[in-house]
């Protein structure tokens, strides 16, 4: 069954960021090899160009468009509600989409979300007709406030951005999934390896957004494919229903009817 995000059917549960690849061509190849349908793009110097030279960053932008993926602009690096809202509006104009991955960053080193600013910016943007994808923590109360602010999906972190630590608080992520039972949940940030992606998907998360884990690997195209497979494996395992761990051994072969050879 496909995933529905703001009314759109999405069949790929792997979302990719577009920063820090060795080349635009390799980024495009990674997107295509992993059959990624949604890519996030930051609206910063690259896409805007400096000093209002309209044409300045167009080459990179057109290369992303050629990949055929749906663009999810983000407000990476914004520190205030005002900055994030303004960036979202510019992104809508330039990239022609009302989707916005909303980041309001509290601290530049930790890159943790400023959850108060996040909720406020989400409310403003939802009222302005945006479809908001909020980058948040695993705090349940904040998640509730984001839903009340009009968000139809949530993007909790697994670990700090770019850290590659994996599921740093597995219990919190489990509780989050349990609490927001019917809300699409996308893990955003902190995944470093495919095995961690599988683990997140086994918990029942709907999708996963990555950047550094692919872009900064030794072979981004191969790593993107590895993540595609791991996301698929985790999703299938979740749907299939894994067995529960059991203390002690459990024979796989039936004991009844076993031949006695004495």
């Amino acid at each position: 069954m496909s995933l529905k995000l703001y009314g759109c059917d999405i069949s790929s549960r792997l979302l990719l960021g577009t920063a820090r690849y060795p080349s635009p061509a390799m980024l495009k190849e990674a997107i295509q090899a992993a059959k990624v349908e949604i890519v996030t793009v930051s609206l910063r110097r690259e896409s805007l160009g400096l000093q209002n030279e309209q044409r300045a960053g167009q080459s990179f932008w057109s290369l992303i468009q050629q990949s055929g993926a749906r663009v999810l602009p983000n407000t990476a690096g914004c520190h205030s509600v005002r900055e994030a809202v303004k960036t979202a509006h510019m992104a809508r104009e330039i990239m022609g989409t009302n989707w916005i991955k909303l980041e309001v960053i509290a601290d530049d080193m930790a890159l943790n979300p400023d959850v108060f600013g996040l909720v406020e910016a989400a409310r403003i943007l939802n009222e302005d007709g945006f479809k908001v994808f909020p980058y948040t923590t695993t705090d349940l109360g904040v998640g509730e406030r984001l839903m009340q602010a009009g968000c139809h999906l949530l993007m909790p972190w697994a670990a700090p951005i770019g850290s590659g630590q994996g599921l740093s608080d597995r219990n919190a992520l489990k509780a989050y999934r349990r609490h927001f039972e019917t809300v699409p949940l996308i893990i955003d940030a902190g995944i470093g390896r495919p095995s961690q992606a599988t683990e997140a998907m086994e918990l029942g998360y709907d999708a996963l957004l990555l950047n550094s884990a692919v872009a900064k690997s030794g072979n981004p195209v191969l790593m993107a494919q590895a993540f595609r497979q791991s996301v698929r494996a985790g999703r299938d395992a979740y749907l299939a229903g894994p067995i529960e761990p059991y203390e002690g051994a459990m024979p796989s072969s039936p004991m009844i009817g076993r031949a006695y050879l004495s």
Binding site: R20, P22, S23, P24, A25, M26, K28, R45, E46, G49, L50, Q51, E53, R55, A56, G57, S59, F60, L63, G162, K216, G218
Partner: protein
């Protein structure tokens, strides 16, 4: 010999950045009649080569790039040693702050020809860094040059070998009389090569008597990596940003701040250095960031050298020569 010379073709080269210069030299060495055309009046004007780091670092450059960069770059070490006496073969160093150690591990894993060095060896290699770093990677085979000395030296070498250099002339390839034209105009060739894009790079030159390095040093950092290349007269070149835009405007406050903040992490005493220049240039790149040579009629385009002009021009020039020789063979 003279008979052979007569049978050789004449080649016009447009653009006197590093790609054009080395291509002209390589062709001259094979006995071709060579005419290099440059639209600007003064050396270094209008070319991103003027702002380059000048690191001949095929192994380090593999980071964030492709194996092809390394494979095509190795021959540059020998080329530079043979053609430019200012080539310094002192290797390069890769360092990080202790807490960013994972960056050095990642860098080491995706590159070759390096040694892991401890604090003692680091102090021997760069005494002015004494005690500031506990480990790093040393690439002993790499070299560096100063582009602002190398470009005029190569131009002089070309002239001495009988090559003709015309500055302050804007030419159209179609109008030139030479048998073959090599277009090395970089980003200016975008009208003919639509896939070409500009990637902006910004750099700063600082001057200090307190700190001297013998070789390029790359300080890794998850967000703001920086490199420092030693130059004559107590100067250090600090580079470089990489921004997906072809905007030619002067360096921005943010880029200057990032580069200067990063360089002080290498050594706090660099905070006392004088800033003598802050500049920006735009590098020509193809979508895969790998240079390419293509021919349309009698025009050969050698372009897309991106961050690797000084490293990959010898390869590029050799390929152009081979292509011309093959055509000559076919005609004969």
């Amino acid at each position: 010999m003279s008979r052979q010379s007569e049978s050789l073709l004449s080649v016009g080269i447009i653009g006197s950045g590093i790609a054009g210069l080395i291509t002209a030299l390589a062709l001259k060495e094979k006995g071709y009649f060579v005419h290099l055309y440059e639209k600007t009046k003064h050396l270094g004007e209008g070319t991103c080569s003027w702002f380059a780091g000048g690191m001949i670092a095929p192994w380090c450059e593999r980071d964030g790039a492709d194996d092809i960069i390394r494979d095509r770059g190795v021959e540059a070490l020998e080329w530079w040693e043979r053609h430019y006496e200012g080539t310094v073969k002192a290797g390069s160093l890769v360092l990080s702050a202790a807490r960013d150690r994972s960056e050095v591990i990642r860098f080491g894993r995706c590159t070759q020809e390096h040694q892991t060095v401890n604090e003692d060896s680091l102090n021997r290699l760069e005494p002015d860094l004494c005690g500031r770093f506990q480990e790093g990677l040393f690439y002993p085979r790499e070299a560096h040059i100063d582009p602002r000395l190398a470009l005029p030296a190569l131009e002089m070498r070309l002239k001495n070998a009988g090559g003709v250099v015309s500055r302050d002339v804007e030419v159209q390839a179609e109008e030139l009389k030479e048998d073959i034209i090599v277009d090395c105009r970089g980003l200016a060739a975008r009208t003919d090569l639509p896939k070409l894009r500009g990637v902006r790079g910004e750099m700063i030159r600082i001057q200090t008597r307190d700190i001297h390095f013998k070789r390029p040093i790359r300080l890794l950092h998850p967000r703001q990596p920086v490199y420092v290349v030693p130059r004559d007269k107590d100067i250090l070149m600090v580079g470089a940003t990489s921004i997906e835009t072809d905007c030619q405007a002067p360096i921005t406050v943010r880029s200057a701040y990032d580069l200067l903040e990063a360089v002080q992490r290498l050594h706090p005493a660099l905070g006392e250095a004088s800033i003598i220049e802050a500049s920006a240039g735009v590098r020509p790149a193809f979508p895969d960031n790998i240079p390419d040579i293509e021919q349309h009629g009698r025009i050969i385009y050698a372009n897309g050298l991106y961050r690797h002009g000084f490293l990959l021009s010898p390869w590029c020039a050799r390929k152009v020569v081979e292509q011309i020789q093959a055509q000559e063979g076919a005609v004969a």
